[in-house]
Amino acid sequence: MDALRNKARDLLSDGSVQVVIGYGPGSVPDQARAVFLRRPEQVGALFFDDRCHQNLAVYLTKPEVKALGKPAIVGTPAILRSILQLAAENQIADGQVLALGVDGDGRVTELPDFKSIEDFLAPLPADLSPQEQEQLARIEAMSRSERWNYWIDQLSCCLRCYACRAACPLCYCGRCAVEANQPQWIPVAPHPRGVLEWHLARAMHLAGRCVNCGSCAKACPLGIPIHLLTQMLSQEVAKRFGLQAGRSAKREYVLGTFKPDDAEDFIR
């Protein structure tokens, strides 16, 4: 904790960054939340522990935060993966963001460029959590109609509040496909078809771009496990096309590229 605060203080004092994006105390004891520190004397608010799960990379593309100046950002593996994926999609330039890699032992590693983030992440496991793997396996094991009923039931609570989209660091589009209305591709209504099509579209647009942070599901006020849709696709993309989001700042977009020998077994 001290290492993080000292680092933040130094960075703000010498002007190498204008804002430190990190975790501070939330409004209730068991909660952490994003803080945006702009003065060295504010660094006491910083901490890092297992309450800190929001993917802060979402703020790197928020106009109001960008306007604050160059950021340093506390970097959990999920946040660092998001940064690399944002880099791969040309949303942030090298050197524009200073990541502060943190680990459970309170060590802080300054990661000034994408290369250093890649190296930092390389030895870390990028698997889904055991719980996520278990959830995916459980759904895969269902029959087709069980899966359909499961998802229609899960999605029946969806309000279309777009918390999933808002919390996702890769959902940075200025105008979302769901808002394209000439024609209205995805129904605005939160009726069952509207909800299903929205989540299918969201998953497709994140196919192979999802860094498996799980923020969408954590943001969902109804706790719908929508992260499984994109996580399943990222597993599939990794398996089939050997592409993993958030491992490199120069990664190809899976649906923007191809190999002549991409294998399938369903086209006649």
Partner: protein
């Protein structure tokens, strides 16, 4: 207020009587980790313990998706089928006192000036059986917005879990009495005069002084930096508005094929950037700070000036479910304190 006693185990019998008389009963049920309102037939279907339901019961009177009219295309002709609303008399059971108060806020919107027949019809057919709060969490702030864990305002019947097997029943309105009259044998007279329910109610601390907040809001309006700072971590989703029992803003959309279609309304939120965006590209509220300010001002200043009530009941849902921990009560407290 007339008091009665209702055995908890009798609730099932009450439900059966109501169902026989043609009532639909909606109560809080578990859905994964969430607690939402669903049609129920027996008390066992309902969630046993919850501080507050995840969704408010507002969808009973203001569905998140509701048809306004249907139309059919016949050649170049259009036939409008006026959407005739028919509503089954409905009991909402087990909502909290804060939610019971929210219906009056919604009613203020839907019945000032033009009368919204959809909302009004649903409301007229709704009876509110509230269960007082014996527990609260740090997000609750009903007592700061003129409510309380055992507040009868807005309820037709108010049930307070008085001990392990009995509810104290307060008959708040004639509509509540009509429920009691459905099964009078289940409602025993309260012995020994007025029962003091306060000892079982949750202790919800007052976070800020309402009058001070209301008085300071117009003054801080122009402090853009203040609002920008409060909204820095706001992600701009609609969760707070959609979970809010008192938020009434909506969108109107069409969906049609070549035979015909529907015009419907669905919930919308002032926190979403598209809410006020003009087709020309001009947006009166371009930043999240401005949108957050609108949310606060609308609820606590404009609404009060215009419709005579604030549009918040202190249920805490907006804060409890916010993915970025935007805590309304905390921000209101900060506002009220700046005025000091």
């Amino acid at each position: 207020m007339e008091q009665r006693l209702l055995k908890r185990e009798s609730v099932g019998q009450l439900f059966a009587k109501l169902a026989d008389a043609g009532w639909r009963i909606v109560g809080p049920c578990r859905s994964g980790e969430a607690v939402v309102f669903k049609d129920v037939h027996a008390p066992q279907e309902m969630a046993a313990d919850y501080v507050q339901t995840t969704l408010s019961p507002k969808s009973v009177v203001f569905p998140r998706y509701e048809l306004l009219l249907r139309y059919r295309f016949e050649g170049k002709d259009v036939k409008i089928d006026d959407e005739q609303i028919t509503v089954v008399p409905t009991v909402i059971f087990g909502l909290r006192p804060c939610d019971a108060r929210s219906l009056a806020v919604l009613n203020a919107v839907f019945s000032w000036d033009y009368q919204d027949v959809f909302f009004k019809t649903r409301l007229e057919n709704t009876t509110i059986i509230t269960v007082s709060c014996t527990t609260s969490d740090p997000y609750c702030f009903c007592t700061s917005v003129n409510g309380g864990p055992g507040d009868p305002q807005g309820s037709d019947l108010l049930l307070t879990p008085f001990d392990a097997d009995e509810y104290l029943v307060e008959i708040v309105t004639d509509r509540g009495r009509a429920i009691v009259d459905q099964a009078p044998e289940l409602f025993a007279p309260a012995a020994g005069g007025e029962v003091n329910k306060v000892r079982v109610l949750a202790d919800v601390p007052v976070r800020f002084e309402m009058s001070r907040l209301v008085e300071c809001l117009p003054r801080v309006f122009n402090d853009e930096a203040f609002w920008a700072e409060q909204a820095m971590r706001c992600l701009g989703c609609g969760a707070c508005a959609f979970l809010c029992p008192a938020c009434a803003c909506f969108d109107i959309q069409d969906e049609a094929d070549r035979q015909g279609g529907v015009r419907y309304r669905c919930w919308d939120s002032c926190g979403l950037s598209l809410f006020t965006l003009h087709t020309s590209g001009h947006n009166p509220r371009t930043t999240q700070g401005q949108r957050w300010r609108q949310r606060v001002m609308h609820k606590f200043s404009y609404f009060k000036d215009r419709l005579g009530t604030i549009a918040c009941v202190g249920c805490g849902r907006c804060s409890r479910s916010c993915p970025a921990d935007m805590n309304l009560a905390e921000h209101l407290q900060a506002l009220a304190e700046t005025s000091a």
